[in-house]
Each structure stands twice: as C-alpha cells, then as structure tokens.
C-alpha cells in the first residue's frame, strides 16, 4: 500500500472497502492509469474506477498500437529525429490550426519522456510493424499492442497499492461550484459514494453513445460503427459540462475512418480496416464516385474517409479493385465480394449494375497511363474526370473484380472539457477548478480541433495523465 500517513478522512463500505481517497481517478485507460501511478508514487492514496469489466478494461487504449514521440536523436525504438517544430507543423496541418498552442507544445515536448516512463512501468516496445514502416521515425510501437500496455500499467498501479474497481459506473459527479467532493458510483449492483480530495477525469469521449451522436449527426449516426470500447458513453463528460465545466471542441468532430461494413457494432478495432482505397475506386450506393481516392498516401488520408462515407446516402461506400491490386495492401479480416464482371459485382453489393458499369467505364476511359508506384506519389492519374483520381489510377480491367463495403467507423469524439497546462479543468466562467483534472480523450479536443495525427491520442493521454497525476497529488497533499 502507498504511504497513508496523511490520507483523506477514512470512509468504508461493506463489500467495497475504502471509499475515501486522496485522488480519485475516473477511467482506467492509458490516461487514467498514468495519473493513478504518478499520484500513487507521490505517496497519495489512489482509487481508480474503471467502467468496464476486467476483460474489457483499458478503454480505447486496448485497441491502440503506438504513440507519437518527439525525439532529437535516434532512440532504441525510433529512427532519426523528430523535433518539436516538425511535430507541431504536422499537428497544425491536420488540425488546420484548430489547436491550443501551449497545450499542443506541452504534449509534444513531454512526449520525449513517454517511452522511458512507460518502459519503467513494464511496457515494452517493438520496431514498427510490417506495413507501417513510414511510422518508424515518429511513432513508438507497443510490443503486443495497447492491451499489453494496459495490462502492464494495471500491474504497476496494483503494485503501488492503487485500489482498482471494475464495472464501476460513475452516475453523478458531486460538484460544489468548482470543487469536486467525490462521485456517486455503482459497482456491479451496489451504490457507492466515493469521497476524494482531488479527482482526475479520464473517462473518454462519447462516441459509444448513439443518441448523443445523433444530436449532431442526425439519423446517419445509426449507421456508424464504433471501433473501440462500448463503455465510452460520455456520461461523465456530460455530468461535468452540465455542472458548469468549460466545453472545448465541436460535437461533430471525431476520429473516424472507413471500415468494413461487416465489422461488429463495437470493439472491431484495427483489423476491420480496408486499406485498398488508393488502389481502386470508391462509389456510393448509387454507384457514383465522390472523392479523389489517390489524393495522398493512404496513411495520411484514411482518417478523412470516415467522414466522407458518413456524408453519402445510407452512410455506405464500396471500394472496387481488380486482380492487379491483390497483395499490395494489408489483408482485410473479411473476404471481399468477388466477380468476373463489374455488373455481377454490382449485383452482389446491391448497386445498380448499369450505373456501376458506367462509372467504371468512364473512369477507365479517363485513366492516363503512367508508371505505377505505390510507394510514391506516382504519375498514374485521370484526365477530364470529376472527381479526379490524381495518383495510382489504373484501369479496372483485370478480373476477378473485388469489392469491400465500407461504413464510417468512429474511433473517438473530440468534444471535451477545457484544461490548462496543469491538466486542471476550467469552469465555463473562466475560473480554474479547485481540484479537478482531466486527461485523455475527454480533453483531447484541447489539442485536436479536427483531423488526426497517427499516435497522438496515446501521446495526449500519457502526457496529460502524468501531469494530472502529479498535480492532483500535489493538490491533495496541500489540502491535507
């Protein structure tokens, strides 16, 4: 157990145990775990409430695979250098400037410590995975993926004496102006009142809450698939916003990719991706193309296709490739529809065969031959076609033809609570909260106004988690 010399006044409930803590962490993903570990290492009594059962613990972190880390020289897992200026420019580009510069720079600078901190707490890294070599310079990959990271951090937290409750659902945040007194939770079927000197909110976005998504997306949200945990329903976020905490971000903004339409409604994770968009064409339910499939390298464009497909009728897209593309992209988890003719393929995917045949014929006629090279922005493109395909345009002429049906897959939402550089939650009237901190997806919108930079979610979670843990511990000890 952590040193308990000057701990919060004791509270106890039969069957639950201690209910009064220096630091209460709500949410048990990368951000919450980082905060809990740092606070426990500072000698505070810490309780972590995880909404999911143990098997699904870790929120979206269990589906991640890397974090984006600044470094001025090669490290054990990162090649070359990736400095603050370049990192920040990358962020400005994807967010179109919609970021909070001090917080963004803080996340970037502190990301230098992330790999070493995680290694010191049992997480291990591996070289960039096959198919992701372009990320070997900027992103550090977790050995075994995000669930391995989550497991290691839970072990570290438990070794430090952090009290962990699973299936602990926070029903009400007890706010007194800008001061958090604790939370009302339900663990299994039991109502529990937790008291705390300080609270760290790391309970994620609201992407698993379809009714909330519908408030900004309308009925289209019914057709969204949720790539990650079903436990991120945003109830804690809503509690905070409804009680005077400052909001940041646009409710429609989120990380969304186009994934296989057969993916599970929740928790499909990485393997539901379909990575052949830039090798073929994408049509909507009417058989019409709607965006330049070859605009840029797929890893730089995959995060826009969720929104593109979401804007199409029935929120559906179909990516079409021919035999030439086989073997050039990561194998999808579900088999493609396959046919010897475009018309036959159209029937299989429920698109009007004549419309699709015309789209393919128009596209084929517009293709200008070049030297195809998928590893660079090559000169294979279309002319006189709207929308154009600007790279990797090759005719769909070698059967069999293959089709994957795409739907929008939401990873996480950006609407969140506003924080300052100490991860402290700000109130809508501009005052800082007395004792509330936030980390992870629940505040990622401070840095990510829109767009996405691969691996930055885990960077934000880790950096602000560690800051929140440090500051919450400091605040709790001052209050003692």
């Amino acid at each position: 157990m952590a040193p308990r010399g000057e701990t919060a006044k004791s509270g106890f409930q039969e069957g639950v145990g201690e209910t009064s803590f220096d630091v209460l962490v709500i949410g048990g993903g990368n951000a919450g775990l980082s905060a809990a570990i740092v606070a426990a290492e500072a000698g505070r009594s810490v309780c972590l409430l995880e909404g999911a059962p143990r098997a699904y613990r870790g929120g979206n972190s269990r589906h991640t695979r890397n974090l984006r880390a600044m470094h001025d020289a090669p490290t054990s897992v990162l090649t070359e250098a990736y400095g603050e200026a370049e990192y920040y420019e990358d962020l400005l580009r994807v967010t179109k400037g919609k970021t909070t510069e001090p917080l963004a720079r803080l996340a970037i600078r502190e990301s230098q410590e992330s790999v070493a901190w995680l290694e010191a707490h049992g997480v291990r890294f591996q070289k960039a995975l096959s198919g992701t070599l372009h990320l070997g310079r900027t992103n550090a990959f977790f050995l075994g993926g995000g669930k391995a990271l989550v497991n290691a951090l839970y072990r570290a937290a438990e070794a430090l004496g952090v009290t962990v409750h699973y299936e602990a659902w926070v029903e009400e945040v007890r706010l007194d102006e800008n001061l958090c007194r604790g939370v009302a939770a339900r663990i299994g079927g039991t109502a529990v009142e937790f008291a705390a000197r300080t609270a760290v909110f790391a309970a994620g976005g609201f992407q698993a809450n379809i009714p909330w998504l519908k408030e900004s997306w309308g009925a289209a949200a019914d057709n969204f698939l949720i790539r990650g945990t079903p436990y991120n329903t945003g109830e804690v976020l809503k509690q905070l916003l409804d009680q005077g905490v400052a909001q940041v971000g646009d409710p429609q903004q989120c990380h969304a990719v186009a994934i296989d339409g057969r993916a599970p409604k929740f928790d499909g994770g990485i393997c539901t991706r379909v990575d052949c968009v830039s090798l073929g064409i994408v049509v909507n339910a009417q058989g019409a193309r709607f965006y330049d499939e070859g605009e840029d390298f797929w890893p730089k464009r995959y995060a826009i296709w969720g929104r593109l497909v979401a804007a199409q009728p029935q929120q559906v897209g179909h990516v079409l490739i021919d035999q030439k593309a086989i073997g050039l992209f990561m194998p999808p988890v579900f088999p493609a529809e396959q046919a010897e003719t475009i018309e036959e393929l159209a029937m299989k995917i429920g698109v009007d065969p004549r419309a699709l045949a015309k789209t393919v014929a128009d596209y084929n006629a517009a293709v200008r031959d070049g030297s195809f090279d998928h590893t660079e922005l090559d000169d294979c493109h279309t002319e006189g076609l709207t929308p154009p395909k600007t790279h990797w345009a090759r005719r769909l002429d070698r059967p069999p033809f293959y089709a994957y049906t795409l739907k929008p897959g939401i990873t996480f939402t950006y609407l969140g609570v506003e924080v300052d550089e100490t991860a402290r939650v700000l109130m809508a009237d501009g005052r800082p909260s007395a004792n509330m901190f936030a980390a992870g997806e629940i505040m990622a919108g401070n840095v990510l106004g829109e767009g996405y930079l691969a691996g930055i979610g885990m960077t934000i979670g880790g950096v602000f988690g560690r800051i929140a843990g440090r500051e919450a511990a400091r605040r709790a000890s001052n209050a003692a």
């Binding site: 096959s130 993926g145 990485i270 393997c271 990561m330 194998p331």
Partner: protein, 390 residues
Amino acid sequence: MLQTLLNTDSAAEAERIMTICNACRYCEGHCAVFPAMTKRLQFSPGELGYLANLCHNCGSCYHHCQYAEPHEFDVNVPKTMAELRLDTYEAAAWPAFLGRSFQNNGIWSAIITVVALIAFLGGAAVLIDPAVLFGAHGGNFYAVLSHNAMVAIFGVVALFVLAAIVIGMARFWRLIGAPPLREAGPRDIAIAIHDALTLKYMAGGSDLGCAYPEEAPSHLRRLFHQFTFWGFLLCFAATSVGTLYHYGFGWVAPYGYLSLPKILGTLGGLGLIIGPIGLVVLKRRAAGQPVQGAAGKQLDAAFLLLLFLTSLTGLALTALRDTPWLGSLLVVHLGVVLALFLAMPYGKMIHGFYRLLALVGFAMEQRRDAALFGRASDPARDSAASQATE
C-alpha cells in the same frame, strides 16, 4: 497427399484466427509465428501446421489480444496452435498407425512404461540368478547384465527410434509443404539451431519474458525448459563419452564419481530433476489459463514424468551402486530408459525435432522475405503481402 491429413477442425479454426491476426499484426514482436504469418494472405493446412510448430504456447499473444474472449472474434492463438500441433504430430508419425498414440498420450506412455518395466523385471526374474541380482558387485553393473546384452537390447531399440524420428521428420517436412531441404543454406540451419538452443521465441520478444504461467511476464518456463533440455543433452553426452571410453580406449565401466561420464551424467540428472519439476509446477499454475488447450496436457505431463523417473532411478543407481540394491535399481532404471526411448517418437520429445525444422523454414523465409511453405504452386502470389503498405 500427406497434407490432406491436416484438414482438421483445428486447422479450420487456425485459418479463421490467422485471418484475423493477419489483419491486426499487433503481435509481430512476440515470436516467429507472426512474422511468418505476415508473409501470407491465405493459409493452407500445411502452412498452418508450419505456423503451429513455431508456436511455444507462451501465452503472450493471448493476454495481449484485443480480440480474445469474451470478444466475439474469440481469438486464442496459443490454444488453437497447440491443438493443431498435435494434429501435425499424429499426421507425421511413422509408422502411421502409431500416430494415434498422440490422442491419449498419457495412457499410451503409461502402457509403454509398464510393458518396459515388466519386460525388464520379468526378464531379470527368469534369466538372472537371484544371488547375482541381489548381490553387491562393487558398482559393477555388468555383473548383473552384461555389456553385450545391454548393447543388443538398446541398440535395436535405438535404431528403431532413430528411424521413426528421421522418417517422421521427413514426413513432417512434406506435411508443411516445404521446399526441398537442399534449398536450406548452412546459415538458415545455423540460425535455426541457435534460436532453438536459446529458446529465443519462448521469451515473448521481451526482456521480461513471456506470459506464462500467468499474465505477468516471466522467464521461469524458459529457465526450467533449459534445465530439462541441457539435462537431457548432458545425460546423452555422458552415455556417448562412456561408449567412447569403452570402445575407443578399452576403459570399462563402472567409472569413478569424478570421471567425465559420471560428472556429465550427474549434472544432467540434476537438470532432469529440477527442470521437469519446475515445468510441472508452472503447468499446474497455468492450468487455469485459457491458453492451455486440453490437447497437450497428457503429452507434456507424460514425457516430463518419464524424464524425471529416468533421472531419479539413474541418480539412485549411481548413489547406491556399491550396495545390494544395485541389481534391482539397474533393472528398474533400464526399464524406465527403455520406456523413454520408445516414447521419444510418440510423445512430447518429437516437438523438438519438428520445431527445429519449422525454424529452419522460418530462417529460409526470412532470408528470402517470402512465403516458401505450404503450397507447391504460386509461391509468388503472397510474396508481396509483407511489403504491403498500410
């Protein structure tokens, strides 16, 4: 065609799971299974058998899997591969009808052991004068059973066992759809031997070890496996040195406690006490983990017990060789050793030979960065899989 023997339920499940894993690839750093997998887009039964024999059932990929139960994908690579591995043992066994021994390996091993013991005890009771059998011979066990008799019995058995293992290996090589062995370079074989001797992939790709027996990483299994493996090799070396002494130099056993064969044998024997006990203890701790398929339990336990008994009786014989217990212990020890010999091609021991071959194949595939195994035709089709961009 041999590969059709692998059209099993386990192969079908392994194909389903590998298709999911190949779309995820988070586990690439753990062991050889996943880098071998990424060289492919589809998986024939032979290829799956090859992948299964690269797997150590270490559990890391299971505990780190976002698709493990209760997720609807229900991915459990170690368990599935353990079951498929057993199918490959059965399919590759020679003579083929003895492949069934892998289905109820505990009973099979028990029967072999009992038969071997009865043969030796019965033979001793009938053929050896009780005064000799229960007499003290100053450690000279050839007084109880002559050197020539031992060579005759174990020579014949060893030749059969050797044939069964070598033919089994040849059948295994065809079973996994491998190219001709001559395509393996010396470097491939050297890498495979290195990786096998160091148990490289039993560490889960981490300095902390693999997720065995439980979720937290540990090196214990690798450690006890090394005790067992090197213990066995030292005992083998002791016998080889003894044979060299006998035929090469005319130095006839018994040898002194500080002689080379005795030192090798005693150290090896200790390894075969510590290793198997450690592995059984870990196995009991791991029993509650979902990575432990029912399939391999009997196989592992039966062979560990035989190794342990071989060592125990051998060490007892060494310790008590100057007493009247010499004859009885010798007969029991030889009976256990005979059972161990007969169990080699039809028990857990065979995994070492097949894994070594799978590692040779892995080294070949790594060197050429292409899938070479599992299909006779169209090797080029999947070669691009590992180069695919995200």
